[in-house]
Symmetry: C2
Subunit: 431 residues, 2 copies
């Protein structure tokens, strides 16, 4: 039997969710602006129509101080996705959601309470993308001079997770009685304070939220550094990964499997979804023409700025014509490592030219059949469980095109669901 | 012309929002449980049908460590209201919402971003009930040993508000251009970092949310201590107050007006809504019978526990048969002062007997005509702008009864809106 494919939709609550200038769009075709709730409702309904597992929201806590970032709307502005997913959950009854929340800026008690409440409200359709935050600019909005060093952030995050698990488990299954005849709401002996005192966190507890449909949200992680992979292998139920080529995918899957094994986890319990930006059209040349048209409107300086943000490096301060393998940049993120590993001789200038807008040999640009072939090939040869679609192109119509043109082709091959099975996000990802 | 009356609905996202044991209800009549979203959607739709201004949510960050609190569900459990209002805003298109968020536990950058996002999502239907938090138990869930002293909390809150205002004002009106022809999203010169460095807060900014329909949420405050009133007179657009009798109401209004005047504000710009628990039935005796039936199911120890929570005093440690005027209890909250002022000879035992379940001479228990008369009398003689209805009784049917029986009677007198005017919560409260 062919391997099943999961499809998920990725966005930021922002004018240009992933690709620069995606807010630039023929005026006459614009029904709703990115800051209007109808825009998001439209995408949620489209993803549900395509039976996507979920609508995933990245997030960050800074931006807007660099003139280039403001001018081109590079990951700025960026509204809070937590309320957005709560609103959208009222407008679609099957599609699930995942939301990024930072262990650095949310106290664990606040985060667990918010996620458990969301899990109740959505009836189990919620996931948490665990991040420990990366930019000093974010710290500056929270009264801190800087963030803890990278590896310490993960040590803190490990302890943070311990607190979260204890909070989520602080009610026994039968603690809530709601015994109306005897007037007993809950059994005090079955609700347990934590009195947690760790190296970084001190939390009394118990949770003030009753156990929710999933009890804990479905857990995501999206880092690719060594320490990040270790964290993911220990805690994640699903990893949002990027790898270059089938060899890179396979290496990633094997590495995660080996790490999971060391934590006594079955590697099959950790799903992997790959970032992808498919672009479909009735013919391959139409698709490529569309890609070139989109790429043409991206100023080079904007591309560099976004890439620098993703890599964790200020590209205005390095020689962008030097090979990436020669750049000494401590504190950069795992994404840069993938490029270094794939080809140490490539320069930042070369990467930036087509960054996120699709290189000429991008196999995910073509007819629905070509893209479906590519997706099937990648999960069969490279591994993993599906694709997190980052709209590298215009929105919201982009998701309509995928749902209307690409999804039926994949579905006919029997590798994509025709109906939602189960009720929760965890069900969708594991049943 | 008779004075207009505003009606608002008050809840906690909890099994017994205000009155103890309101989760105990004839099983056969229960359509939804308090933890199911349909329960809240039902209330929101009912309030919108009654043209209430808003659905107001109190909140707290602790609970569940006292066996009595757990057994009777006294302000515990308590789910997060922020996501709840976002969800509900998708189900009603006119009703507004107000949500309690603590200046102690939310960093100002997080709070402003969340509220501005909610303001976008709800299209301007959001208010913020400003609290600085009151219980040490809350602090213990956030790694703190105790909260700052009462007055210092307000000094911190003043500085906190200064940060919020600066964040909400960090974009000029014309900063966002969305110039699609020239590819310019926003003008960097019109978006201003704060670089705020105060005594307690340090925030770089700017805001990562574009100016929202109301730009800042409609601001509420609900404290009645001296320092709390001062804070309210300086910042609030609406005060949720409790006062005992017409004389107490008048004193409160005059005091707020005098303080507002000192801050150069027009006292008319500060609305006052009074906590009220009306109970209606076709005849007065039916209404009183219903009240007695409700009161009969409230255990005395539970009543004491809730009252102690509201007053900020552990009543298991004081002689409840002593007059309240004789109790030396530093750090108690303003609510106790109201009782002391109204009658220093009353004991805690006497207050607890009918606490929140209605005393025998409660004029808000009766026919719709009697209750409407009482409401009109109170705002005309005592002052203020309307009533925040705390469901002292069963929910959600309680709000149906008010909307179906009481609201039409008040409306016929021309003192309650027949349609929503304007679009935002601020419009509703001021037009």
């Amino acid at each position: 039997m062919a391997k099943k494919i999961h499809l998920t939709g990725f966005m930021l609550f922002a004018p240009a969710p992933h690709m620069i200038m995606s807010w630039v769009y023929p005026r006459e075709k614009i029904k709703y602006q990115w800051y209007e709730i109808e825009y998001w409702e439209h995408i949620a309904k489209t993803l549900e129509r395509g039976k996507f597992d979920m609508f995933f929201f990245a997030d960050g806590w800074a931006g807007g101080t660099s003139p280039i970032g403001v001018r081109y709307a590079i990951q700025f502005p960026n509204h809070d996705p937590v309320s957005l997913v709560a609103y959208l959950a009222a407008t679609v009854k099957k599609l699930a959601f995942a939301v990024t929340m930072s262990t650095t800026f949310y106290a664990p008690y606040m985060l667990t309470r918010k996620l458990s409440t969301l899990d109740h409200i959505t009836k189990g359709r919620i996931g948490w993308n665990i991040v420990s935050s990366i930019g000093a600019a974010e710290a500056h909005n929270f009264g801190m001079d800087s963030l803890p060093p990278h590896d310490e952030r993960y040590d803190r995050a490990d302890e943070y997770m311990e607190v979260c698990y204890k909070l989520w488990d602080s009610w026994d299954d039968d603690a809530m009685m709601m015994d109306m005849e005897r007037g007993i709401f809950a059994d005090p002996d079955k609700i347990h304070p934590l009195n947690f005192k760790g190296k970084w966190y001190k939390v009394e507890g118990p949770m003030t939220v009753i156990p929710s449909p999933q009890r804990r949200p479905y857990l995501f992680q999206a880092r690719s550094s060594d320490r990040g992979r270790e964290f993911a292998a220990r805690h994640s139920e699903c990893i949002f990964a990027s790898a270059i080529g089938v060899a890179g995918m396979r290496e990633f899957c094997e590495d995660i499997a080996a790490r999971a094994d060391r934590y006594g986890r079955n590697p099959k319990d950790i799903k992997i979804i790959w970032g992808a930006q498919p672009l479909v059209a009735p013919s391959e040349s139409d698709a490529r023409a569309k890609m070139h048209e989109i790429r043409a409107r991206i100023p080079f300086e904007a591309s560099l700025a976004l890439m620098g943000g993703h890599f964790g490096i200020d590209l205005s301060k390095v020689d962008i014509d030097k090979p990436v393998g020669d750049i000494d940049a401590p504190g950069t993120k795992g994404m840069l490592d993938s490029y270094r590993k794939a080809n140490p001789n490539v320069t930042f200038r070369e990467i930036a030219k087509t960054y996120l807008s699709g290189s000429d040999d991008n196999p995910m640009v073509g007819t629905p059949k070509q893209v479906a072939d590519c997706m099937q090939y990648l999960v069969e040869e490279g591994g993993g469980d599906g694709f997190q679609i980052t709209p590298a192109f215009y929105a919201p119509d982009y998701f309509d095109e995928l749902t209307d043109q690409l999804v039926p082709v994949i579905r006919r091959r029997g590798v994509l669901r025709t109906e939602y099975e189960g009720r929760t996000l965890r069900d969708y990802m594991t049943l």
